[in-house]
């Protein structure tokens, strides 16, 4: 923390010239140029897979560029590992936090920046320094708490503190708001502004236009591994940036008719799910899901949406309460596993496709029957009917335009969007009366997003009852007919989709909204 010069002081903090990087046949970055003036907040925007993270990983020494040059503070540098990056004054806040969960905040901050062989002195030094940083930037964190006991927003502050403690003058944040509430995001932005005003250069990587417009001074747009444009934020707008990102005009709102809900398909009553420490992850949730409607569950990730989906789909056991499909009621005493739930007509597109939705090492045709692998169609008395499985896979790949259309290709070798389409194809193919969908477009490119949204709406129009969980507010607002908001495991409010906007949902997600006696929700 030496540079206390004013933000307007001349010079560039970072200059990249002609950076290229390939992973096998994939060209992640090609001939990228970037110039970031000192003491500014610089946004880098692009779709998933546009090469933003690779570029920053090169800057932080995680990968070595195949070619190109890096200048920091107008001096040519070679950053081969994170040590070099730290010594150059670059700090990084990773999308997935690089924290040791079982360590305290203090220990995490010290790690790698200890002042001697024995920890005693390091602890003292870190304590003083942290108090100073806290005062200077308003970065409050309980320094003796364990990371695993802290909320995500605070964990992120620890990451920022780690970088500042090491004397970072250039701070890179990789998709920092994905796990934050809109309110936490605002707090983060205040911190970033304070940092900039003290002369720190901030690079913000994101795919959210709103954030770019809200906080950056300059913005660079990446597409397919190349840098396609540099703009002053004040001289551009959302529409232009969106077009630059995708390379064509995009519709941000899905086309759909008003819902025609019919009979209730799924009735959830006072459902609770406790974790291994007996903490309620889902807390007394009740909801009705009717045929022909999409009910959206909004909320910051980690507020019980995942556990709700897992309980309803039979992955996780119900602890209290129940839910009913037709005349079958499932509760703690009458559990059903995922296979049995599927047999009852409940299909599930899970939130985490690589973790739950498919087996990355399986071929596509093997993944295409996951959960249906016991069906008669695919099995003889003992042996499986591999021919049937391959044909089936080829058919659904064709229906959902999964590319490449090769049933024997390993599941891991498809792009995120195509993996997701394969899973949707599998779950939608049997026309299930109930469909649970979690984060359907996470890590999926824009072209595939449109297609996936159309399919979900088509399912609804065909009479399917759809429960949609997403942390993307835009997605919830454009797809859902009704929106429930979860906070700390509870449903804290319900709102018609056409009455919802980002502000009110944001307040609900932080449980800071007001409900009038007749159920009207206001700020």
């Amino acid at each position: 923390m030496t540079n206390q010069s004013s933000p307007s002081s001349a010079g560039t903090a970072i200059e990249l010239s002609g950076i290229s990087k390939a992973f096998g046949p994939v060209q992640a970055n090609s001939d990228v140029n970037l110039s970031v003036p000192k003491g500014t907040i610089h946004g880098i925007i692009g779709e998933n897979g546009a090469g933003k993270s690779t570029l920053m990983s090169i800057l932080y020494g995680f990968y070595e560029a195949d070619s190109g040059e890096v200048f920091v503070n107008e001096k040519k540098v070679s950053i081969r590992n994170s040590n070099d990056a730290i010594a150059t004054g670059i700090g990084m806040v990773h999308q997935h936090f690089m924290l040791v969960d079982t360590f305290s905040v203090l220990e995490n901050v010290m790690l790698g920046a200890e002042s001697g062989e024995v920890l005693k002195d390091s602890i003292k030094k870190a304590e003083t320094e942290l108090t100073r940083l806290e005062k200077e930037y308003g970065l409050h964190v309980p320094i003796h708490s364990l990371i695993e006991d802290l909320p995500v927003g605070q964990q992120q502050r620890v990451e920022i503190l780690k970088a500042l403690y090491r004397g970072a003058e250039i701070l890179i944040l990789d998709e920092p708001t994905g796990v934050l509430t809109p309110q936490e995001t605002d707090q983060l932005f205040k911190i970033l502004e304070a940092l900039r005003d003290q002369g720190v250069t901030v690079i913000l990587i994101t795919h959210k236009l709103r954030e770019i417009m809200a906080i950056t001074d300059n913005v660079s747009v990446m597409r397919h591994g190349t840098m396609v444009a540099h703009r002053k934020t004040s001289e551009t707008d959302r529409e232009e940036l969106a077009e630059l990102m995708v390379g064509r005009k995009v519709r941000t709102k899905a086309d759909k008719q008003k819902a025609q809900p019919k009979e209730t398909k799924l009735k959830v009553e006072n459902l609770s799910v406790f974790d291994q420490f007996n903490v309620a992850r889902v807390d007394n949730v009740s909801l009705d899901l009717r045929a022909g409607e999409i009910v959206g569950i909004a909320g910051v990730s980690g507020n019980g949406q995942s556990e709700l989906l897992e309980a309803l789909s039979g992955i996780e056991a119900v602890s209290k309460g129940s839910f009913t499909l037709g005349d079958i009621t499932i509760d703690a005493d009458n559990p059903k596993n995922a296979k049995e739930m599927r047999d009852l007509g409940l299909a599930h597109v899970p939130e985490d496709r690589l973790h739950l939705g498919l087996v990355p090492s399986f071929s596509a045709h093997e993944s295409s029957i996951l959960g249906y692998h016991r069906d008669k169609e695919f099995n003889g008395p003992i042996l499986s009917k591999v021919g049937n499985i391959v044909n089936y896979c080829a058919r659904i790949m064709n229906d959902f335009d999964v590319r490449p259309q090769d049933p024997s290709l390993k599941s891991a070798n498809f792009s995120g969007g195509n993996q997701q389409k394969l899973i949707l194809a599998r779950e939608m193919d049997r026309d299930p009366p109930i469909l649970l969908v979690g984060q359907p477009t996470r890590g999926v490119d824009i072209g595939a997003i449109e297609f996936i949204h159309q399919q979900i709406i088509a399912m609804r129009d065909a009479g399917c009852a759809v429960l949609l969980v997403s942390v993307e507010l835009e997605e919830i607002m454009s797809l859902a007919d009704r929106i429930l908001v979860m906070f700390e495991g509870r449903v804290v409010g319900e709102i018609e989709a056409d009455k919802a906007d980002e502000k009110i949902l944001g307040l609900m997600m932080a449980n800071a909204h007001k409900t009038s006696p007749d159920g009207e929700i206001t700020a």
Binding site: M92, V100, T102, F103, L111, G116, E117, L119
Partner: protein, 325 residues
Amino acid sequence: MEQSIVILLSVLDGTLRVSTPLVLCAMAGLFSERSGTVDISLEGKLLFSAFAAAAVTYVTGSPWVGMVAAIAISFSLSMLHGFACVTHNGNQVVSGVAINILASGLTVVLGIAFFRQGGQTPTLPKDARFTPIELPFAEALDSIPFIGQLYAQVISGHNILVYLAFLLVPITSWIVFKTRFGLRLRAVGENPKAVDTAGIGVRAMRYKALAVNGVLCGIAGAYLSTAQNAAFVREMSAGQGYIALAALIFGKWRPKTAMLACLMFGLLDAIAIRLQGVMIPGTETEVPVTLIQALPYILTVILLAGFIGKAIPPKAIGIPYVKER
């Protein structure tokens, strides 16, 4: 009464003696496992270093030189384990099995080649072994019932390596929890990626942990063949490396609790030795010795079955750290 105190004291005395290699191996395992490397090769290192100690001591006449040789061998095997698992991301269990089998074969092959006694080393004379040390005032205190006897007959009269082993427990604890090395060691076993981004070499840390591991195992091996016994006998480690590993898990990867687990296994072993040839009360049959010998293994299984709380291992244990995607 008098009789049972004598038996008790001798069993406790035996407990310390048989626990010593377990404690050393458990501390060795603690370093590598805390850094994220599973180490079943404790067994093989114990065996091979026991051989090296006995062989070199026999040739040079000095148990200290023997111990240096034991440490060198065990250290080399630890580095081999690191080369396979840390450098080449090999399977840690497979590497451990390989080292154990290698040790089991090569000790006998070399033993026969060097000494031609069917794989044993020649018996060491008394002055070429680590001999018992009388602690101060032991004789004087022996007359005080129990407390004094405990001091004189159980605490006093062991060789230097026994005291070293038990001294190493608080030292290990201090290193792991109070030093920079320890902080990094624990971090690299929990979240190597966090360590990497903090600018610390993950592989270097794991190698360092294995280096310490090798040294401690080497001391344990030397104890086996030049202190507890007077020669190397084939397969003389007899599963103690595995038992130490079990004690480590049972002790939840913490030095002091792991030591207590070792003492408990040691106590059991000492009782088993004591029971050899004893008649089952009221019958004509002896206590079946083979079954008694299986008791530590059975107990290990029962204990690890989670009857005393769940042991949560370091999160990154057993997983090679691969940086590139």
